[in-house]
């Protein structure tokens, strides 16, 4: 049971890193995610159903996501519309495309077919089944985290980060922000679709509605992660995002598991997620308000002490 939460959380964390790239690093409010997650699942499922193998399935899922991200970035670049609208356009179009990929169905099961999650127990046969699944997922998640960390330390990665913070600076340094946006968005959605492809294999089916509400869930995980610790180092940022993703999945698990005592049904979880995001925002805000109030108090106290000192000095004189 506990292993299940971690597997779920780790698969989810790959998607959250994708959301992190668009929202936090590129500063691009991207809703493509809701579509590309399901695209990844659909592509992976169809590749496996047609005998393409689980590894190929993941690679093709990532490529399909990259194409979706690049399309969103291109719409935003060339038609000069806000990223939010560009993402909604792609997301809406992807819904139809996903059903096409799934062969006109909304759901494709992967029963009695070899997937990564039937291969893991064989590969890690020295572990129990549930541990084998966890170790396999952990391996994939950490390889991806490492690759992303390395990427954002390269010159290209740094300039993508700089563009998210200040587009004019990147132009001044002779790089085309349009190209950087396409690369960044393709990477972001490749990770999201890859995560979708993994989830389809883990839960044994692909569904056209799989991506619904993914952006908000991703944001919730990012915000939970940001409560953990503060850093501007990419390796720690991706680490805290992964921890946030696992914590989020755990919270949702307990919401499902114990929720029925207070009449919660699984359909209430989206509401819970939204409330979680709002609470995170409120806490973050009160935190910064509290620290500035604290600073004000300290400043007043220092001022008072100084005046008292001056008074004493005058009395001595």
């Amino acid at each position: 049971m506990l292993e299940g939460i971690f597997v779920d959380g780790l698969i989810f964390s790959i998607m959250v890193i994708g959301v992190l790239i668009s929202y936090r690093i590129l500063d691009f409010a991207d809703l493509t995610c809701d579509g590309s997650f399901a695209t990844g699942a659909a592509v992976a499922a169809m590749v496996i159903v047609n005998g393409g193998g689980s590894g190929t399935a993941l690679v093709l899922a990532a490529i399909s996501g990259a194409i979706a991200g690049a399309i969103t970035a291109t719409i935003h670049n060339e038609l000069k519309i806000p990223g939010l609208l560009a993402g909604i356009l792609t997301m809406t179009m992807l819904y139809s495309i996903n059903i096409r990929i799934l062969g006109g169905r909304a759901n494709v099961p992967l029963l009695r077919i070899d997937t990564l999650y039937t291969q893991f127990p064989r590969f890690f046969s020295f572990f129990s089944t549930s541990w084998a699944l966890l170790v396999g997922t952990l391996l994939i998640a950490f390889i991806i985290k490492e690759l992303i960390d390395i990427f954002f330390r390269t010159d290209l990665g740094i300039s993508i980060g700089a563009m998210g913070s200040n587009e004019q600076m990147i132009i001044s340094m002779g790089a085309n922000p349009k190209t950087l946006k396409i690369i960044g968005m393709a990477l972001s959605n490749a990770l999201i679709a890859l995560s979708g492809g993994l989830l389809a294999q883990y839960q044994g089916f692909a569904d056209a509605n799989l991506g619904q509400g993914m952006v908000v869930q991703g944001l919730a995980a990012i915000m939970i992660g940001e409560f953990l610790f503060d850093s501007n180092k990419i390796s720690l940022i991706t680490l805290r995002v992964m921890l946030g993703a696992i914590i989020y999945k755990a919270l949702m698990f307990f919401g499902r598991y114990y929720g029925y005592y207070i009449n919660l049904t699984p359909s209430d979880l989206k509401l819970l997620t939204g409330v979680l995001v709002i609470i995170s925002l409120i806490i973050a805000q009160t935190r910064s308000a509290a620290s500035s109030a604290d600073a004000r108090k300290k400043a007043l106290r220092r001022n008072k002490e100084r005046r008292e000192h001056q008074k004493e000095d005058q009395q001595h004189a």
């Binding site: 010159d155 200040n166 990147i170 340094m173 790089a175 085309n176």
Partner: protein
């Protein structure tokens, strides 16, 4: 170095808001020139820079940079030759990135590859360069730029622009938003870099004294054109009252507001 011919820029053409910002402007800049540009608000100084830099497209006319026609070249292409520093210190640096990340972005121009070039040697070089600013930034390589003061950020912007090895500098009132002490530091650094690297420079300023003290040529703009162009000898004998008088003579009118702007 820079050759502008018959350049015109019209904003919102064909609408009620149509505004001619620059009209039939000609300007020749020689290599190594340091030109100061003065003029009242709305005279077209910043528009001129935005046209040279490529932020705006020209309505008509041509711009030659190093003999190459760049009239329709994208802003990021021209940035290989032109380094720009703006009045707002936050424009030139990325606040959410560390000082070293900002500097490595400036170190190589253009689209970057998948190479990790931020290594110990580069860090040592950056420390050495930052030490030139004598602002203590050499000990803060890993701090985010958002934590720096306006003066520190503008000095860093200047250093980054120089690191990117442009052939030409466009300075748009780059010390105007700083306090007098920091403005002095940034201005001193600017002239040091210009002399050291022999950079062709165009500098907009509202400070008449600066306009006279710096550079080998002074241009005054008004209503979208150059109304005064003083070189070498003429410029050397210039004083602030003389300059204001020249402006009045040309305009043959007394603009109280313009005078207030010019005699700062």
């Amino acid at each position: 170095m820079l050759n502008i011919e018959q350049m015109t820029k019209v904003f919102f053409p064909g609408t009620v808001n149509e505004k001619v910002a620059i009209e039939y402007l000609d300007l020749q800049v020689q290599e190594g020139d340091f030109i100061t540009i003065v003029g009242s608000n709305g005279s077209g100084k910043s528009t001129l820079f935005n046209l040279i830099g490529g932020t705006y497209e020209v309505t008509s006319g041509t711009i030659l940079l190093n003999g190459k026609d760049v009239t329709n070249a994208a802003e990021h292409r021209r940035a290989f030759t032109i380094g720009r520093i703006f009045q707002d210190p936050t424009v030139g640096t990325a606040a959410k990135m560390s000082i070293e990340d900002n500097m490595i972005t400036a170190y190589t121009k253009g689209l970057k590859g998948l190479k990790v070039s931020l290594n110990a040697a580069k860090r040592a070089l950056f420390k050495e360069e930052l030490a030139k600013l004598s602002m203590g930034l050499e000990h803060r390589l890993k701090d985010n730029v958002g934590l720096l003061s306006g003066g520190q950020r503008q000095a860093l912007t200047l250093l980054m622009t120089v690191l990117s090895r442009p052939k030409m500098l466009l300075l748009d009132e780059h010390t105007a938003a700083l306090d007098p002490r920091n403005a002095q530091i940034v201005m001193d650094l600017t002239t040091a870099f210009i002399n050291e690297l022999n950079l062709t420079t165009l500098m907009i300023t509202h400070n008449m004294q600066h306009a006279i003290d710096f550079g080998n040529r002074l241009i005054m703009m008004d209503e979208g054109n150059i109304i005064l162009d003083l070189k070498e000898q003429e410029k050397k004998s210039l004083t602030v009252p003389k300059l204001v008088q020249m402006f009045k003579d040309i305009k043959k009118q007394e603009y109280a507001s313009d005078e207030a702007l010019l005699t700062m």
